[in-house]
Symmetry: C2
Subunit: 158 residues, 2 copies
DNA sequence: GGTGTTTTTGCAAGTTTGTTTCGCGGAGCT
DNA sequence: AGCTCCGCGAAACAAACTTGCAAAAACACC
C-alpha cells in the first residue's frame, strides 16, 4: 500500500485530490465538471490513487468539544537513552494511547512531539503520570495547552 | 454551525462517529448493522450531527510524500507583544499559509505551535524568512523536523 | 512520417447506495 | 386514558457509483 515508487500524478489527479481533501462527499460528476473529465474517469483515478496509497483514508472530522474532549495539548518529550530498542518501545507506547492523536519522532531539542486530546486537565495529569513519570526513560517533557485551534487539518498543498 | 449548547450524543451516535472517523465511505446499511439500527436511522443521525457541527468535515487523507511534500516540521513561535491586535494578526498570517497544516495558540513557553508540511528544507527556509524573520513581532522560534510520523490523525476518542 | 500498441477517455447500462415518505409505537405530559 | 411528540423501520424513490465496450489520444518503434 505504501508508495515504494512514487506514483506519477498529473494535473487532473492533483485537482481531484485538492477537492477531496476539502470534501470527499463531493459527487464524482461534480468533480468531473470542475476538472473537465467524465465521472467514470474521475472514479478510476480515485480508485487508482487509493490503491497506490496516495489517498490513505477517508474520514469524518469530529469536533472534539462536541464529544467532551475539549482540551488539546502539545507535549515535547525528551528521552534519556536513544537506543533503537528504547525508541521503538516509546513509539509503541505512544501509538497505543487513544488520547494521543498525533505522534512524531523529531530532531531538535526534543525527541518526540505529541498532540493529545483529553476531556479534562485531570485526565491529562493522569496520562502524564502513566506515560512520562511512569517511564524511566523519559528525561523531561514540556506541556503546551491549546487556547485556540486556529487551523486544524491534515490537508497538504498539491 | 458551532455547537454553542452541547448537543447530547447517545451510545448510537458515538458508535457511528467512531466508524465514520475511521472510514466515512462505510455504507449506512453496514453502519446500521454494526450498531443495530436501520439505514434511515443512521442517515438521520449523521445528518443531525453534521448540522449541529459535531461532524465538521468529510475529507480524504492524502499521503504527503506521494504529492512531493515529504517533510513535516514542528515550530514553536514566541512573540514579543501579545496585544489582542498583534495576536489576531499573527493568527491570520499563519492561517493563510497553505504550508501550515495546523496552528494552535498555546500557553506555556511558546505562544504558537505550528505543524508545517513542505517539499524541501529550502522551501522551509524560505518560509521562515517570510513568516518569522520577516515579522518583527516574532521574538524567536524553535524548529523540530519530523523523522518519523508514528501516528497521524484527527480522530478523537468517543 | 506512418503504424501498431498501450493507455485513457466517454457513453450507456446495471448495480449499489443514499434519501424521502409514510405509518407505527413508545415516552412523557394533562 | 387520551394526547402529542419523537424516533424508528419498511418500502418506494432518487442519486451516485461501477462496469463493459468502442473510440480517441498518447506513445514507441520502426
Amino acid at each position: 500500500m505504501s508508495p515504494l515508487f512514487m506514483p506519477q500524478l498529473d494535473a487532473f489527479d492533483r485537482k481531484i485530490l485538492d477537492i477531496l481533501q476539502r470534501d470527499n462527499t463531493t459527487p464524482q460528476r461534480t468533480i468531473g465538471e470542475a476538472v473537465n473529465l467524465s465521472a467514470p474517469a474521475v472514479q478510476r483515478r480515485i480508485k487508482r490513487m487509493t490503491e497506490e496509497g496516495v489517498i490513505r483514508a477517508n474520514v469524518a472530522i469530529v469536533d472534539p468539544a462536541a464529544v467532551g474532549q475539549a482540551i488539546t495539548i502539545f507535549v515535547e518529550v525528551e528521552v534519556i537513552s536513544e537506543t533503537a530498542e528504547q525508541i521503538e518501545q516509546a513509539k509503541r507506547e505512544f501509538a497505543a494511547a487513544p488520547q494521543i492523536q498525533q505522534c512524531y519522532y523529531v530532531t531538535g531539542e526534543a525527541d518526540f512531539v505529541l498532540v493529545i486530546v483529553v476531556p479534562s486537565m485531570a485526565e491529562y495529569e493522569a496520562l502524564t503520570r502513566r506515560l512520562f513519570f511512569g517511564n524511566n526513560n523519559v528525561k523531561r517533557f514540556r506541556t503546551f495547552v491549546a487556547m485556540d485551534r486556529i487551523k486544524v487539518g491534515l490537508g497538504v498543498p498539491t
